[in-house]
Structure formats: structure tokens, C-alpha cells
């Protein structure tokens, strides 16, 4: 039962990462990230209950409140302010991106069998989905032009790392987790301000235009 919930949530996170690749509306991408974080919260709660590790309840609460609600709210506000709602021209079109992401997922899954933990059933799937999400996040970061999408890709990578940390290892000390949450929040805030600055300067959040600074 526990394993089923874990696998279901991990697969849900992978599907949301995949859908993020598949569409261009920024609001939907943010909502997908929010759903992904909620799944991560459920993973933490499930492990907290099944292995009676009560510090994980704090992690779950922080994940849901910060990553599930606060960061999406902040990013939506940024988008509302600057009034840019769509990823118009990514470097790769959607079908090609999806095809590459399928390949990346296969690679992630194949690699996960090489870990000693990967031999066991649930860990195999958790590591596999996490590695795939990591690769998809990195891929999104290099192929999308909009600064907001790149922030979301970074956050997806962070979620993937967190999934492994919570689900497979015996867990990080609470202080380290708090530190990571703080880092993420700060990163999003700073990147949000940076997006404002880019839009102010270039009237677009297309980061490929930043190269024009060279003159």
C-alpha cells in the first residue's frame, strides 16, 4: 500500500514534468509545478507515516506550503506584473522536445538500475523517475528562452533531487532541509527580481536577447 502510493506520486511528478515540456502557457506550467510539489509532499507524508519519522512531517508541511503554494503564487504575480503569458518560440518545437525527453527518461531509468538501491522495487522507480525529472529539467533549461520557464526547470531539478533525498536515502538532518528550503525561496525571489530587470531592460523575458549586451 505504502509502495503503491509512493510509486503513484513519483509517476505523477514525472507526468507533470512531461506535461510541462508539452505546453507553452506559463500559468499552466506553474500550476503543474505546484501539483508536482504537492505529490512530493504526499511522498514525504507517506514515508513519515510508514517509517514513523516525524521530522518528515515538517518537511512535508514546508514542501506543500512553500513549493506548492507560495512559490507558484509569487511566480504568477511576476507574470501578471510583466504581462507575458506564453513561451512563443522555444529553441526546439514541442514534438521534438517530447521525443528527446522520452529518450532522457529511458536513460534515467536505465541508469537507475546501476545503483545498489536500484535493485529493490520501489527505490528503483523513485530513483528512475527522479533521474528522469532531473534530465528533463536540465533539458528544459537549455531549450526554453523565457526566464520564468527556466526558473521552473530549475525548481523541477530541485524537486527531483529532493525526491531521492526523501524517498531513497534515510533522510537529511532537518537543519539541512530547512537550509535548502531557504535557498530555494531566496533563489526564486532573486530570479523573480532578475526577470523584472530583464523585462525592464529588453521589454521581453527572452534570455537569448541578453547576448546583445556584447554590442
Amino acid at each position: 500500500m505504502t509502495n503503491d502510493v509512493l510509486i503513484l506520486c513519483a509517476a505523477g511528478m514525472l507526468v507533470s514534468a512531461y506535461l510541462m515540456v508539452g505546453q507553452k502557457a506559463l500559468f499552466t506550467a506553474i500550476r503543474l509545478y505546484s501539483a508536482q510539489s504537492l505529490f512530493l509532499g504526499i511522498v514525504a507524508i507517506t514515508i513519515a507515516i510508514s517509517e514513523s519519522r516525524h521530522d518528515l512531517f515538517v518537511t512535508a508541511a514546508l514542501t506543500v506550503s512553500l513549493k506548492g503554494i507560495l512559490i507558484p503564487w509569487f511566480l504568477m504575480r511576476v507574470i501578471d506584473r510583466i504581462g507575458i503569458h506564453r513561451e512563443i518560440e522555444p529553441f526546439l518545437n514541442v514534438p521534438a522536445s517530447l521525443l528527446i525527453c522520452v529518450g532522457l527518461t529511458v536513460v534515467g531509468y536505465r541508469v537507475s538500475t546501476g545503483f545498489p538501491e536500484g535493485a529493490r522495487g520501489v527505490s528503483h522507480h523513485l530513483i528512475g523517475t527522479a533521474l528522469s525529472m532531473l534530465l528533463i529539467g536540465l533539458f528544459l533549461m537549455v531549450t526554453r528562452k523565457k526566464a520564468i520557464t527556466q526558473i521552473l526547470a530549475l525548481l523541477t531539478v530541485e524537486n527531483a533531487v529532493f525526491l531521492v533525498a526523501v524517498g531513497v536515502t534515510s533522510g537529511m538532518p532537518l537543519v539541512v532541509e530547512l537550509g535548502i528550503f531557504f535557498d530555494v525561496i531566496l533563489a526564486v525571489l532573486i530570479l523573480g527580481i532578475l526577470v523584472h530587470r530583464i523585462v525592464d531592460r529588453f521589454e521581453s523575458m527572452d534570455v537569448s536577447r541578453l547576448a546583445k549586451l556584447k554590442g
Binding site: 500500500m1 509517476a11 514525472l14 517530447l98 522520452v102 527518461t105 529511458v106 531509468y109 536505465r110
Partner: protein
């Protein structure tokens, strides 16, 4: 446990009963989705009986056909209807066995549905009206992407069960118990998008409009009137119910009857109705919260489901 139907007579009776039941329930599903959608928009919506009234009205009317229409035009809705009815006999509904599962499995199901689609598309081209041709070409464009995705999604389940037969597939899912694999969710997400695309729901097609720039299915059947139109409408509703039943069978077969005891059948009927209703709610929500995609964006959406289905199949192997 196993409930194969060896007796030809029993299989025939069961096929007839199941088809009749699904045909009777199909308009209700459409009306229920329409009603829920209306309630989400703060409207009253048509009553649930409206689907039956519409069919009765259309069936009473005289068929009006274009002067240039040939037999292809007349045959179109009939083949479409027959193919969908044939497809229903391959899908388990109340029992963990399909009535005519000896005839074939997934491949036959997809092939039968493709035959119906082919018949309707050729019929749409037959009268030479621009709308028919436009609708047919659009429908085929989407079908060309949706069909492989549907097959890949179905193959994912077939691979786990070790059989292409839908009845055997459901039985194996029941036998395995509630064990879960990530590919199940990927395949479900892929197939759900396919169901929306195939039934002409909103991100892909809008069933409630006849706007010339956007319509797909409605453009194809624009020329039909009277009993011909009734057949097309009824079949579309039946296909929708069929696809939802297929999703229920493959991913959440909880409660399906494994014996012919009256109690088990009653539980199975309630479980099936409940699960289909839940999926109908999901379809309604998807339709109410999304805007219709531009036609050239639709292949992107369908390619997402193709990717998900392919991924589900790949992960099964790893």
C-alpha cells in the same frame, strides 16, 4: 476465478445484452456531461432525458440526402454504427470477460474503430461539400497521431498481462491485486488525452459549436439529417462510453464481477456506473477549465499523449 465463455449461445446472449445496455446508457452519459458542464457555468442545462428525446426526434424524421450522394454516403453512418457496436462486444463491462473475446482483442478493437472512422470520413467526402472534406481531413490528421498512441497505451497493459485479449487483461489485473507500476499512470494520462481527442471534447474539438473555422467532427457530419444523423450521434455517444469503459477496465477494474451470482453482478453494475461517472466528471472538468486549442496546436497535444504512451511502454521493459 476464470470466467471464459465457451458456450456460443451464452456468448451471443451476453453480447446482445451488453450491447443493448451500452446503447441504452450512451445518450445518458452525453447528457450527464452536458448537464455537469452547464452547472459549472451556472446554467440549468438540458434535462438528462434530452439525449433520448433528440434521438427519438431525429429517428422520426425523413432522411434528406444530397442529390449527388452515392451509396457511400448512405453506408457511412451505418458502417460507423455497426463498427462501434461490434467493438462493444470485445470490451468487458460487467464481467471480467468480454462476450466475444474469442474473436479477438486489442488489435481487433482498434481496427474495428478505425473501420468506422474510415467509413464516416469517406462518406463525408462523398457529397463533395467543402465542409465534409475539411472535416474528414482534420479528423484523419488527428486520428493518424491518436491511433498509435491508443495502441501503445493499450499495449502497455497488454505487456503486463501477457495477453492482447481484453478479457484476459482484466483478469490478470484482478489476479495481480492492487500492485502499482509507474507505467500505469503514464499510460493512463496518455490514454485520457486520447479519449478526449477521440470523443471530440474541448481542447481538441468543441461538440457544442458549428463554427466553420474550428469544427472537426461536426464538419464531417454536417450534411446528415434525420435517421442518418441519429445514427451518427448515437454512435459517437456509444464510442465515448466505450472509451471510458476501456479506461475503467484497464486501470481500475475494482468490483467487476468474476462470477454470475446476482449479487456480484449488482455490485459490478454499481461499480462500473460509479467509475464511469467519475471519469465523466474528469472529462467535464478538463473541458470546462481549458480553452479550445488552435487546430495546428492539436497535434502537439496528441504528441504529448503519444510520448506518454511510448514512455509507459519503455518503462515496462526497464
Amino acid at each position: 476465478m476464470t470466467l471464459m465463455i465457451h458456450d456460443a449461445l451464452a456468448a451471443t446472449i451476453m453480447a446482445l445484452l451488453q450491447t443493448a445496455g451500452l446503447l441504452a446508457a450512451a445518450p445518458l452519459l452525453r447528457a450527464a456531461i452536458k448537464k455537469m458542464k452547464a452547472r459549472l457555468q451556472n446554467r440549468q442545462g438540458p434535462p438528462l432525458r434530452q439525449g433520448y428525446y433528440d434521438l427519438a426526434k431525429l429517428l422520426r424524421k425523413e432522411p434528406i440526402r444530397s442529390e449527388t450522394a452515392s451509396w457511400v454516403y448512405v453506408a457511412g453512418p451505418r458502417v460507423y454504427f455497426a463498427a462501434a457496436v461490434a467493438a462493444t462486444t470485445l470490451v468487458p463491462v460487467l464481467f471480467a470477460a468480454a462476450p466475444l473475446e474469442a474473436a479477438g482483442g486489442i488489435l481487433l478493437l482498434v481496427g474495428t474503430l478505425a473501420l468506422g472512422r474510415f467509413a464516416l470520413a469517406t462518406a463525408a467526402l462523398d457529397t463533395g461539400s467543402p465542409f465534409g472534406g475539411m472535416g474528414a481531413s482534420r479528423d484523419m490528421t488527428i486520428a493518424a497521431l491518436a491511433e498509435p498512441a491508443l495502441m501503445l497505451g493499450l499495449f502497455t497493459s497488454a505487456l503486463a498481462a501477457g495477453s492482447l485479449n481484453l478479457g484476459a487483461l482484466v483478469r490478470s489485473v484482478l489476479q495481480r491485486g492492487p500492485s502499482f507500476h509507474p507505467s500505469d499512470l503514464l499510460a493512463f494520462a496518455g490514454l485520457f488525452i486520447i479519449v478526449i481527442a477521440e470523443t471530440g471534447r474541448i481542447p481538441v474539438d468543441n461538440p457544442a459549436t458549428h463554427l466553420e473555422l474550428t469544427m472537426i467532427h461536426e464538419a464531417m457530419v454536417l450534411e446528415y439529417a434525420g435517421p442518418d444523423l441519429a445514427l451518427v450521434e448515437w454512435t459517437s455517444a456509444l464510442k465515448e462510453l466505450l472509451y471510458l469503459t476501456l479506461l475503467v477496465d484497464l486501470f481500475i477494474p475494482v468490483g467487476i464481477a468474476t462470477s454470475a451470482a446476482p449479487g456480484a453482478i449488482l455490485v459490478s453494475l454499481l461499480a462500473w456506473a460509479g467509475k464511469v461517472f467519475m471519469l465523466a466528471i474528469a472529462v467535464t472538468l478538463a473541458e470546462s477549465t481549458n480553452a479550445k486549442l488552435r487546430l495546428f496546436r492539436v497535434p502537439e497535444l496528441v504528441s504529448v499523449s503519444l510520448g506518454l504512451a511510448f514512455l509507459a511502454l519503455a518503462i515496462r521493459f526497464l
